[in-house]
């Protein structure tokens, strides 16, 4: 029996630069970004401030999701607004709308694979701090009373931190009754979700699987990166630059609809590309620095080429992780030049974080979605902010927009904690 082929039929990006693929693409071509200074106040006192690619005026009610579903979530969440979940819902809806996939909401075999680093965690921490502070103002010094009181206040929020609840809310909202899974492999989560969803389709279990990833990074993550001296003070991340600046967060995420090729063709869906295959490796060394001197990242890229049955010369455009951190960028550049040669003419190398920010757990999937838009529009987008590539990296970047016939593209990602991943897409 011939192996099933898996194609992308829906793209749903949610970014500070644009919501939905058409608006986003228009703004990407115009190199438009929405970088804002986020000032965090605690009880009127400025705590800290940092730049990020910020989605402003986000309202889940604008995405055409059933009102009763939204009300149900709000009731369950006892009135709390849950941005992480709402972002995921928005990406799923955008991707489904784009794919025009129709299915019975009562019963179906549609699957859902979600990638997220920390759904609800930042909001939860704030609540814990707030309630702890209120309790501290009391005269009661009993530790037991403190634990009991906070548990009573936080029990529902604590329960909802369990990631199966995210899948539950999303599946219920979109009437998904097939295979569901939540994945957390740091910045590479989206590519792991892509591979997992593909295997689910190839096994014949589901004809279509929606994958979605999102992030809404705020003060707590910022303080961690600031402490590591990894955050760009001017809000401009510059991948592979001689003068690297650091990370800049970005709001949002992306959804993709994956389908069995035959199923997609039968319903005459628009097909963006076939997902040919991926490569994955785990460095097993440090969390915040990559495994310098090892070749795990090279291994992931080569594995993707092998599973995709394509030669390295076939890759037209490569979208790098391009974190904008000197060590990570040099590690990545070495992997690229080890596989494709020093100063390779092909593939063209781009990095898209300067457009949308570092979307953390959703970054790889969002950038894969943007790469698919490049493929669809036969356009290689330039790397913004990088005036001069670090000469030690021995490779060039796309400096200006290139209109070029693109056939096969590669997304790679080297995440914190050593999750290296690569994914190859090809136009049919």
């Amino acid at each position: 029996m011939q192996e099933k082929r898996v194609v992308v039929t829906g793209i749903g990006p949610l970014t500070a630069t644009g919501i939905g693929k058409d608006v986003l693409w228009k703004n990407l071509l115009a190199a438009k970004t929405n970088i804002k200074l986020e000032e965090c106040f605690v009880n009127g006192e400025l705590w800290d401030k940092f730049y990020l690619h910020k989605i402003e005026d986000f309202n889940i009610k604008n995405f055409g999701i059933d009102k009763n579903i939204l009300e149900g979530i709000k009731t369950w969440k006892e009135g709390e607004e849950v941005t992480d979940l709402y972002y995921l819902m928005a990406t799923v809806k955008l991707a489904l709308d784009d794919s025009k996939l129709e299915y019975s909401l009562e019963d179906n075999n549609i699957g859902l694979v979600v990638g997220h680093e920390n759904p609800g965690l930042e909001q939860f921490i704030t609540k814990v701090f707030d309630e702890g502070f209120k309790y501290a103002a009391r005269l009661d010094k009993s530790k037991k009373n403190y634990f009991t009181t906070l548990t009573e206040i936080l029990d529902k929020s604590t329960y909802d931190l369990q990631t199966f609840m995210v899948l539950y809310h999303l599946s219920k909202a979109f009437g998904i009754h097939g295979y569901t899974l939540l994945i957390n492999n740091a910045c590479s989560s989206g590519l792991y979700a892509l591979e997992t969803a593909t295997q689910v389709i190839k096994s014949g279990r589901c004809p279509a699987v929606i994958i979605a990833a999102a992030d809404h990074p705020r003060i707590y993550k910022y303080l961690w990166f600031k402490d590591l001296n990894m955050y760009a003070k001017d809000g401009k991340t510059a991948p592979f630059a001689k003068e690297s600046k650091g990370f800049v967060f970005g709001d949002g995420g992306a959804g993709l609809v994956l389908e069995d090729l035959e199923y997609a063709q039968k319903r005459k869906a628009k097909i963006y590309a076939e997902y040919l295959g991926g490569g994955f490796s785990q460095e097993g060394w440090k969390v915040t620095v990559p495994a310098i001197g090892q070749d795990f990242y090279q291994k992931a890229i080569k594995e993707a080429l092998k599973f995709s049955k394509v030669e390295k010369e076939d890759i037209d455009l490569l979208c790098a992780h391009g974190a904008g951190n000197s060590i990570i960028d040099r590690y990545e550049a070495k992997a690229i030049t080890d596989v494709f040669g020093v100063n390779p003419k092909r593939p063209l190398v781009t990095a898209l974080k300067p457009y949308i920010g570092n979307n953390l757990g959703a970054g790889a999937l969002l950038e894969a979605a943007m790469l698919l838009l490049c493929l669809d529009n036969n356009t290689a987008l330039p790397v913004l902010n990088t005036q001069e590539v670090d000469p030690r990296m021995k490779m060039d970047l796309v400096k200006e927009k290139v209109n070029i016939e693109l056939k096969t593209v590669l997304k790679i990602c080297c995440a914190f904690a050593g999750y290296d991943a690569a994914a190859i897409f090809r136009k049919l």
Binding site: W285, K286, V287, T288, V289, A291, I292, G293, Q294, S326, I327, R330, Y331
Partner: protein, 81 residues
Amino acid sequence: MNGPQDIENEIRNLIAKILEIEPEKITPEARFVEDLGMDSMMALEIVAAIEKKYKVTIPEEKLTKMGSLKDALELVKEYIK
């Protein structure tokens, strides 16, 4: 078990190999970056090599503390089992 002088010489040689300089230039106090031209990638290569050789794990928050051979030795002694 190697003595302190053996470990010092081993680490000196290991660093010299990565920096591609003569071991004699690596005095205990010579600053890796300022005096010996080490960059961040080389520093991580050295950490990886030390961890592998002595089967120790140097915590990430200590990586920036390793500014000289003397610092490296102290770290290895702290974490060696």
